[in-house]
């Protein structure tokens, strides 16, 4: 009797998750994002799918900006695949910390700097920028700047980190952010 009850309870508990749609194509998969602004964040999001255009949103923090983006695209946004984060003038440490903790971005996600990150992303595209940064790392023009390494340096004694600079004409050598 007890085992039957346990089985029924387990089945009922598990079925509480049945309400989810579970449709894989019902989400947008974030590929690259540019963030700038201190009082109010301005974000440009680029996705994997060619059908989805870049989205420009703003919000008082990352969470609200992401929610605004989901409203604009009409689908939830999955951030676990983010390959590239382009930071403009913003609170670098707080932004990266939230991305690592809440967005659960990949540990190999690359961090770059740009004065006009949104424009660079719109013009060059996420795939081209990611490829350019990887080639620059391979050719030792810039050092490896994954999000974990950059955060370690920002949290360390120097409280600054060297990241590649993404411009309209490509990737140039590293710039210090703090």
């Amino acid at each position: 009797m007890l085992k039957k009850m346990i089985l029924i309870m387990i089945t009922a508990a598990m079925l509480t998750g049945c309400a989810s749609s579970g449709l894989v194509h019902d989400k947008n998969y974030l590929r690259a994002v540019s963030v700038s602004g201190r009082e109010r964040l301005e974000m440009t999001l680029a996705f994997f799918s060619d059908d989805e255009e870049n989205v420009n949103v703003s919000g008082k923090d990352l969470d609200s900006a992401l929610k605004n983006a989901e409203m604009k695209t009409g689908k939830p946004i999955f951030t676990g695949y983010t390959e590239l984060v382009i930071l403009g003038d913003c609170e670098y440490r707080d932004v990266l910390e939230e991305m690592l903790n809440s967005w659960k971005v990949s540990p190999s996600c690359t961090v770059a700097y740009s004065e006009s990150g949104g424009a660079v992303l719109r013009k060059n595209g996420a795939e081209l920028l990611s490829g350019q940064i990887k080639r620059a790392e391979k050719q030792d023009i810039v050092r490896d700047s994954n999000i974990v390494k950059v955060l370690e340096e920002l949290l360390g004694e120097q409280q600054s980190a060297e990241v590649p600079e993404a411009g309209m004409n490509g990737i140039s050598s590293g710039i210090m952010i703090s």
Binding site: G22, G80, K104, S106, S108, V148, L155
Partner: protein, 334 residues
């Protein structure tokens, strides 16, 4: 009880130790590794008299250890509750408080099942689970060590001294109560079994702590659970994440850690109250849940937790001595 093997007992205890490591809170450093390792050596020395003990547990000892299992099980529930929020369990099912309750409830139900099949089956399953989990942990460790920054070992600071880390080590070693209770039922040379277990524990602890320091040493300020974060950040290949592999290990070890405590408590409860034998597993889980609520505000790595664990190691000879003084010397055979 029928005999267990030394490997099965070691597997049960190592699962509990590994789970406590996964749930480690606060920063880690080389001091942590040294302190925990020294603590393990001390535990080995304290555990040596257990290898010389003959016979099973008396009624008084059974009562003591039943309560001990309930308390330690409650603390494991709390560890699992706190840490599960750090893991990425599917968000659609784990929204907020209800999600955490669902996760804990499902773990509890599986633990009830484990306790109902008996300690022997749980021991057999532990051996397989420990081996499989060990392989997964090795994968995570090797992934993390692909490009290590050895300088982190010197830079990382936990903010605690060696004595504090030794105390932590004891507080995390609640599975030692199982060593005291189950060692008489183990086949083969008990000293051999104890040595093997503590050696494996030393290797496990040192490798996990050092790997965690190498991976998360620089971001320990923003990391609540360093071992979990280290596993999440480990990648065997740049384009391949394996954090969900760690979630599998965490879930399996959580279930077995709590389930083994429940199975052991159920065995003792069933022995002391034969009428309750059929429901002993469910009773122990319910009592553990109650203990979890009562202990929810208690710091996990406090002096009192460490003292409880030390009492578990010394409980048998102390209680036996008291019973001898009073005149109660009934000892059950294994």
């Amino acid at each position: 009880m029928n005999k267990l093997t030394g490997r099965q007992l070691s597997a049960m205890l190592l699962i509990s130790d590994a789970f406590a490591l996964f749930c480690f809170r606060g920063g880690m450093s080389l001091t942590t590794a040294a302190g925990l390792s020294a603590g393990i050596l001390l535990q080995f020395i304290f555990a040596l008299p257990l290898a010389l003990r003959r016979g099973g547990l008396s009624s008084g000892e059974q009562g003591f250890y039943a309560i001990y299992y309930i308390i330690w099980g409650g603390m494991l529930f709390n560890m699992q509750w706190d840490t599960s929020g750090e893991l990425y369990i599917p968000y659609e099912s784990s929204g907020g408080m209800w999600g955490k309750l669902l996760i804990s409830g499902l773990i509890g139900l599986v633990c009830i099942y484990i306790s109902s099949v008996g300690i022997k089956a749980a021991a057999r399953a532990s051996l397989i689970a420990a081996a499989a989990g060990g392989v997964c942990i090795a994968i995570v460790v090797f992934s993390a060590l692909r490009s290590p920054d050895w300088g982190e070992l010197q830079r990382a600071e936990s903010g605690r001294n060696a004595c504090s880390e030794i105390q932590r080590g004891f507080a995390m070693s609640g599975g030692l109560g199982g060593l005291a209770v189950l060692l008489p039922d183990v086949k083969g040379k008990k000293l051999h079994n104890i040595t093997g277990y503590f050696a494996a524990k030393l290797v496990l602890t040192a490798s996990v702590v050092i790997t965690t320091v190498l991976v998360t040493g620089g971001i320990s300020d923003i990391t609540g659970f360093p071992a979990v974060r280290a596993a999440q950040l480990s990648q065997p290949f740049p384009s391949q994440r394996i954090d969900s592999l760690f979630m599998i290990v965490f879930t399996v070890y959580a279930v077995f850690s709590i389930g083994i405590q429940a199975a052991s408590a159920a065995y003792i409860i069933g022995d002391v109250f034969p009428a309750a034998e059929n429901y002993a597993g469910a009773v122990s889980i319910v009592l553990m849940t109650g203990a979890a609520f009562m202990l929810s505000g208690v710091p996990l790595y406090s002096f009192w937790t460490a003292a409880l664990v030390i009492t578990a190691l010394f409980g048998v000879p102390v209680i036996r001595g008291i019973c001898d003084k009073i005149g109660i010397t009934e000892v059950k055979d294994c």
